[in-house]
Symmetry: C2
Subunit: 174 residues, 2 copies
């Protein structure tokens, strides 16, 4: 779906009919035969985002049985830089009436998953909910830095590993 790529590279405003059609070597006339309007395209992109960026990732991570290793695997999977632009730009566009419900649904789904994970690690339900929200906030901020200011992040692989150790150590401290 080219619309999701456009969200990644130019944000929600980048999902524009005329430039997109031109980039695909087509014309507006063609586009408006396939879609009712721009909103329909955005809606389709959001549905695709929900499948690929939430359900598939969680299903894949959920294969790991050990909760601690599952949390680490989740962080590694989810900070892959290829996902970052779309994630960041969609969260940033969550004031848009079409985007808001999709993002709300994703945040609920993801924080619930994280909450279950922290419960499996031995925290009380309330504490698990708090740590889940904390972890998700850190995830959001990390992605934002990844996209906008990568120079602020640890430079090489070793430093990133140490950084991940720090994060997981803090999140799992009793």
């Amino acid at each position: 779906m080219a619309a999701l790529d456009a969200i990644g590279s130019h944000g929600l405003a980048g999902v524009a009919v005329e430039p997109l059609a031109a980039a695909l070597g087509a014309t507006k006339g063609s586009f408006y035969w396939h879609f009712a309007n721009r909103d329909a395209l955005v809606t389709a992109a959001l549905a695709r985002w929900d499948r690929v960026y939430t359900e598939e990732i969680l299903a894949q991570v959920d294969a790991e049985p050990d909760p601690a290793r599952r949390l680490r695997l989740l962080f590694v999977s989810v900070t892959a830089t290829s996902l970052a632009p779309v994630e960041t730009n969609l969260h940033a566009a969550a004031d848009h009436p079409l985007v808001r419900p999709a993002v709300r649904r994703a945040v609920k789904r993801r924080t619930a998953y994280l909450g279950d994970l922290f419960e499996a690690l031995g925290f009380s339900p309330e504490e698990a909910t708090r740590r889940a929200l904390f972890a998700y906030s850190a995830y959001l901020g990390h992605l934002q830095l990844t996209v906008r200011l990568p120079a602020a992040l640890p430079p090489d692989h070793d430093a990133r590993e140490a950084y991940l150790d720090t994060i997981l150590g803090a999140l799992l401290s009793p």
Copy 2:
């Protein structure tokens, strides 16, 4: 500065000459006498943001001598919901050529301050840098949720206090 308010309520794209002039009861002709163009207005808004949203806040927090209480005070000050929209929208617009250097500067300044704080709390310089980045990421994500999805955050005052305790506990765990 009305431009900063516009960034808060409608993002960088909300800094538009004609609507802004109309909102102030003026006209474009008046605006273009005071500013060379839209970019000049954006630049002025960014300079003001740097003063009010970084320097003043840090100066105010720095009055607290105890590092642990200073960290808590910093979090409380900085998660005031009145600051959240401008902060979030500016970070979200950091791909813009005028905004990028301003945000980069702010992030550097703030993470450096946080790093000093964690060093004052007894962490090694490297660990302090990691925790500073972690704390700033969590801050960014938290603000984003505050603006876009406030329903995802702890609902009442007691829950927010418990949440803050969890966060500070995790950030300060050895």
